[in-house]
């Protein structure tokens, strides 16, 4: 069975790029537009094996999303990758202490994305 990865981003172009790159590698992808949408899809939908989330999003941002996900026993140990930019050192730290597994600095290309996924997802 292929692994399911959730991409959470309010930017449709990023979502599409992530989604496209992952599907090409045989992953299943679930898209969510913000933290609230992500939580809803996590609780209702099929199990997810990994999450890639942006930090700046409306309704519920990435940091809060990571905190919420980690309270769910099912997703306590799930790999979570956050998308950051180089000027966001503080936010990155906040994401790490919220429980993010790793990060990718924007801009990134599909190979870099897949490299990071291989690092954290079995």
């Amino acid at each position: 069975m292929s692994k399911v990865i959730m991409t959470v981003d309010d930017s449709i172009s990023i979502r599409q790029m992530v989604s496209f790159s992952l599907k090409k590698e045989g992953y299943d992808v679930v898209e969510a537009v913000d933290g609230v949408d992500a939580m809803k899809k996590l609780n209702e939908g099929n199990p997810v094996h990994m999450m890639i989330t942006d930090l700046n999003m409306p309704n519920m941002d990435g940091i809060e999303l990571i905190k919420n996900v980690r309270t769910n026993a099912k997703y306590k140990f799930m790999p979570i990758i956050m998308l950051t930019t180089e000027s966001q050192e503080e936010r990155k730290q906040a994401g790490k202490s919220a429980g993010a597994t790793g990060w990718i600095v924007k801009p990134f290309n599909p190979e870099q994305l897949l490299g990071v996924i291989r690092k954290v997802l079995k």
């Binding site: 172009s13 790029m17 942006d54 799930m78 979570i80 930019t85 000027s87 993010a100 801009p107 954290v120």
Partner: protein, 687 residues
């Protein structure tokens, strides 16, 4: 790259939407500067334009927007107040971004000076900060200069909370393993007693010795996500080309003729090893010593290997000597089984521990001996290239032989006995399979035919495939011939696969003319017999007009296998462990429920089973509780019902002798520790 084009189109659309949002939000903020939610929304819109812009190669937009984002970040955290001036600048910036965007589709150049002006005005609103500007991290790779083989000691001690952010340390180790020779020793000294153990915490640390041709930064990069939740030390402990090793005291003494080597060795042997002394003195745990010894060993191996590479030393040994060695190891394994069994019965602790040591040594010796006998199949392959070249010109055909997996290793005996059958199969493909160039062109194929000869590992087997892109087998011709030869009757219904298998029957040949290449049809049955005598199997598959594929499945080694020892009645049997998937109990209750259908419901999957007791006609004193050994035969799960499963067994295969040649279901016998003979079941033919 079309994907990228599509993405950038989506990005432009998205950016347009965000620009509209910015305009709207800015006006809201102008009316109500305290509206924090609006400020956040504005920041996010700008952030998206910048972030995604950089992703899809719109660096102009990303660079410009960065300055706007910096200003808005300050508004967001309250260090910059919203003024009319700022609002104006934001709107100007928005228009400027729109101009750049518009320029992308029309190709028009936007006003760069305008952008610079806006940036300057934005920056004048707040004091410049150090390091605030974009610094592109130009990590200079140190890999180029570290192309020499280097050994590192990596001490990785994660904090207990390692797992809580979803880190799987095994993946880190796997990444290290891809870099080179890697030895990992877990350190368990911080592991608390079970009552104090929190299963969600990580108490283990690891010492890793890695020999690789990479720089230290690449290795540290592996741990980048965990660097602040662990203690990590990476040290170079050996590097190719560095002068190696300090001289030991003893060596110096010998060199000065103060002492002889023998005298030193004698004295050294009296002395305990340092590690033992340290552990005895309780200065350090045993595992720490083990970790250090691993390091010592790996460096030694690497250095030795380097020395050896320099000398390229190997010894040629007569094949018979190897055969004798394998025979002796076989005997040793049998004797060791006896020793183990005897020591179990005696329940003498000391004897048992000796028996265990012997068992460990024997299995190492066995693996080593077997590996000496392994040879790459490539040596055989290279003979065929020549064969194909010569024969194809003789036949007036154009054929290319492609070989894959030449490095695949098989037991020497298997390779030797494989030569003839392979030769025959390739000749067949050449002669019957591949058509003449004219015929090939007619059917729209390239002039040149291709035969692919491929070897690969599949579990405890090596699979060799011979694939040609020729004409394929003519099912009708095969059937007609089989009827003519009296192999089947006219009424026999056959699937294609069954029909293909007819060519393995003795005395079968479909070649319309007998040529010097493929002989007189004495081949395929001999091929099949040879493969089966090697405990392998042969399969044929063919598509008319497209070509044929012949698949040979061969065991890695002939002499010793891992088996599962079971009993039925008073007899012992061995099932090759490579085929076994699991064992389950068969209670009377389950039997009654299945109404004599011999079908088991295994976690929702239907698995048929065969009662070996019935198959072998063993008397009717079966126990209440039987066991089913679930095996994987031809990719199907099939159970074999036995009385008892005893356990794993190192099985030295002895052939049964000519008197039992027609025994289809047995592939040999082995001698157990107490001298009893156990029969080895051939699961392929039992089904």
């Amino acid at each position: 790259m079309d994907d990228m084009k599509e993405f950038s189109r989506i990005y432009q659309q998205e950016a347009e939407e965000r620009l509209a949002e910015i305009e709207e939000t800015v006006l809201e903020i102008e009316e109500n500067p305290e509206d924090q939610e609006a400020v956040n929304r504005l920041f996010r819109a700008v952030h998206t334009i910048k972030g995604s812009g950089a992703m899809f190669g719109f660096t102009d937009i990303a660079d410009f927007t960065h300055h706007l984002e910096t200003a808005l970040d300050k508004v967001r955290n309250g260090t910059l107040t919203v003024t009319k001036e700022l609002i104006d600048l934001i709107l100007k910036s928005r228009d400027h971004i729109k101009n750049i965007l518009g320029g992308i589709s029309t190709g028009e150049q936007y006003d760069q000076e305008e952008g610079a002006g806006i940036i300057a005005a934005l920056n004048s609103l707040f004091p410049a900060e150090k390091g605030d500007d974009r610094t592109v991290d130009q990590t200079v790779s140190d890999d180029a200069k570290a192309a020499v083989e280097t050994t590192y000691r990596i001490r990785f001690k994660p904090f207990p909370t390692l797992f809580l952010n979803g880190t799987d340390p095994m993946l880190l180790f796997e990444e290290l393993r891809t870099m080179g020779e890697c030895n990992i020793t877990p350190i368990l000294r911080d592991l608390p007693a079970i009552n104090d153990l929190n299963p969600e915490h990580c108490y283990i640390s690891w010492d890793i010795i890695l020999t690789a041709r990479t720089g230290i930064d690449t290795i540290k990069d592996v741990f980048i996500f965990v660097e602040d939740i662990c203690e990590l030390e990476v040290d170079v402990i050996d590097r190719e080309g560095d002068f190696e090793g300090d001289r030991r005291l003893g060596e110096i003494l010998v060199e000065r003729n103060d002492l002889s080597r023998e005298e030193i060795n004698k004295t050294l042997n009296k002395q305990k090893k340092l590690g033992e002394l340290l552990v005895e003195a309780e200065l350090v745990e045993k595992e720490i010593i083990n970790s250090a010894l691993t390091e010592q060993k790996q460096i030694k191996t690497i250095r030795d290997k380097r020395m050896q590479d320099a000398k390229a030393s190997s010894i040629r040994v007569a094949a018979e000597k190897l055969d004798t060695l394998v025979d002796l190891v076989g005997e040793l394994v049998t004797t060791q089984a006896r020793l183990s069994q005897f020591s179990m019965n005696k329940s003498d602790q000391e004897l048992m521990s000796i028996a265990e040591d012997v068992e460990r040594l024997t299995s190492e010796l066995r693996d080593n001996t077997m590996s000496i006998r392994m040879m790459p199949i490539g040596t055989t392959f290279s003979n065929f290239k020549r064969l194909v070249r010569d024969l194809s010109s003789e036949l007036g055909k154009e054929i290319e032989l492609i070989t894959e997996g030449a490095e695949t290793e098989l037991d020497k005996t298997v390779i030797e006995r494989l030569g003839d059958p392979l030769m025959h199969l390739i000749r067949n493909s050449l002669d019957h399979g591949i058509e003449s160039p004219e015929k090939r062109l007619e059917s729209g194929k390239p002039r040149k035919g291709t035969i692919i000869l491929k070897a690969e590992y599949k579990g405890a087997y090596v699979v060799i495939t011979i694939n040609d892109d020729g004409n394929g087998l003519k099912v009708e011709a095969i059937k007609a011939k089989a009827i003519e030869k009296g192999l089947i009757s006219k009424e026999t219904e056959l699937s294609d696969k069954e029909a293909f298998n007819l060519i393995f029957k003795p005395g079968f040949s479909t070649a319309e003319t007998v040529s010097s290449v493929s002989g007189r049809g004495v081949g395929m049955d001999v091929v099949k017999r040879t493969i089966e005598s090697l405990r392998g199997s042969i399969e044929i598959d063919s598509v008319r007009g497209k070509g044929s594929t012949i698949r040979l499945k061969l065991p890695l080694t002939l002499a010793i296998i891992n088996g599962l020892l079971v009993t039925i009645g008073s007899g012992y049997y061995v099932i090759p462990l490579a085929a076994v998937e699991e064992c389950v109990e068969l209670t009377r209750e389950i039997v009654e429920k299945s109404h004599g259908s011999n079908i088991l419901n295994l976690r929702g999957e239907i698995v048929p089973y065969i009662r070996l007791r019935e198959r072998f006609g063993i008397g009717d004193d079966k126990p209440d509780l039987e066991h089913i050994v679930i095996t994987d035969v031809h990719d199907k799960r099939i159970g074999f019902v036995v009385d008892n499963v005893i356990g794993g067994h190192q099985t030295v295969i002895k052939s049964l002798g000519p008197a039992f040649k027609q025994m289809k279901n047995l592939s040999g016998a082995t001698i157990l520790g107490d001298g009893t003979v156990a029969l080895i079941l051939d699961v392929n033919t039992l089904v």
